[in-house]
Symmetry: C2
Subunit: 191 residues, 2 copies
Amino acid sequence: MIPRRYERLKQVLRKRQSDLTVITEDVHKPHNFSAIIRTCDAVGVFEVHSVNSNSKMPTYSPVAKGSDKWVNLHTHPDLKTAIAQLQQKDLKIYAAHLSEKAVDYRRIDYTKPTAILMGAEKHGVSELAADLVDGHIIIPMFGMVESLNVSVAAAVILFEAQRQRLAAGMYDRVSLDTKTLERVIFEWGYP
Amino acid sequence: MIPRRYERLKQVLRKRQSDLTVITEDVHKPHNFSAIIRTCDAVGVFEVHSVNSNSKMPTYSPVAKGSDKWVNLHTHPDLKTAIAQLQQKDLKIYAAHLSEKAVDYRRIDYTKPTAILMGAEKHGVSELAADLVDGHIIIPMFGMVESLNVSVAAAVILFEAQRQRLAAGMYDRVSLDTKTLERVIFEWGYP
Ligand SMILES: C[S@@+](CC[C@H](N)C(=O)[O-])C[C@H]1O[C@@H](n2cnc3c(N)ncnc32)[C@H](O)[C@@H]1O
Ligand SMILES: C[S@@+](CC[C@H](N)C(=O)[O-])C[C@H]1O[C@@H](n2cnc3c(N)ncnc32)[C@H](O)[C@@H]1O
């Protein structure tokens, strides 16, 4: 690996946030799923969780721009175990969900370990997911259309998380442990 | 028109921001263009400008969710006149552009009359546009991929504008003049 390349990979990995993640629940359109992964790469999300109970595993489209290589994807066939797994790691899970009890997404503290659950294009967040998560968040809308595109909604929330984490200096501290960092540099550098 | 419908249309129009707009420069993929228009509806953008010099007029996809009905689209064959027109109305135009002189998008005051210019999927903002606008803005990225999806970038900037305008109480003041408001309620209500 040429030194410049090695430095670039290390620089990116040193900014990766191990305690900020996204769960996609049956997001199945390739351009939506790909745009979410690409946004995760830009915000420094280390790994993404994808639950596909009602749909096939999403595929990538050219919209991903290769980000599928830089963001780890964990697929889960079952929502319940996926959520339990993350809660066990002490992440708070917020469903981006247009419900009665949803709070403004800007009121959440994203410097804490956080997972954002995004709902399916057509049916949104399932009742089961809405029940299991720690809270619902909503992006204020003032228009005629009832919802945002799912990749747009994910980006708006993730860049609010980025804003908060920037202000807290979290991109200047390394969040991955040394072993993981060395392993992933190797994986990325010699594919 | 049933009274409930009339009230809903009026409520949305009273929040429309006549001095916040988007210019798309050769954004030609229907799902990108449609997602931008849908985001504009949610943020309360009254009209969008679209310049299509190197590509055909963009078409809508199902991603728009009907927002093409609620956001006026002005198409311009020529970038120069489009920009001159908006600058004459005292809007500051910022190109979302990954250039050397770009400033962090969060440092802009979007409560002032503002237009955001978004570049083409493949080639980005043209040199001509980069020259003519009042400034360049950039969304900080910490990943391997060099850019965000264009509809994602537009949303991130527009929801920062929404945040600032909410804080300034601008959604509680009516920005359209009474004549326009009455005309558009009529157009929306009786298509
Ligand atoms: C197109 S929406 C689903 C719409 C579905 N009809 C519903 O009512 O939930 C797809 C996903 O995008 C996210 N989303 C869209 N608009 C949102 C908003 N304003 N606030 C929070 N999440 C939103 C949610 O995760 C939602 O499940
Ligand atoms: C896919 S990008 C174009 C990439 C192109 N290769 C370039 O270098 O400009 C399409 C458009 O999205 C917007 N965009 C994408 N990422 C951005 C970022 N981080 N900051 C500001 N605008 C961005 C810009 O308007 C850009 O022209």
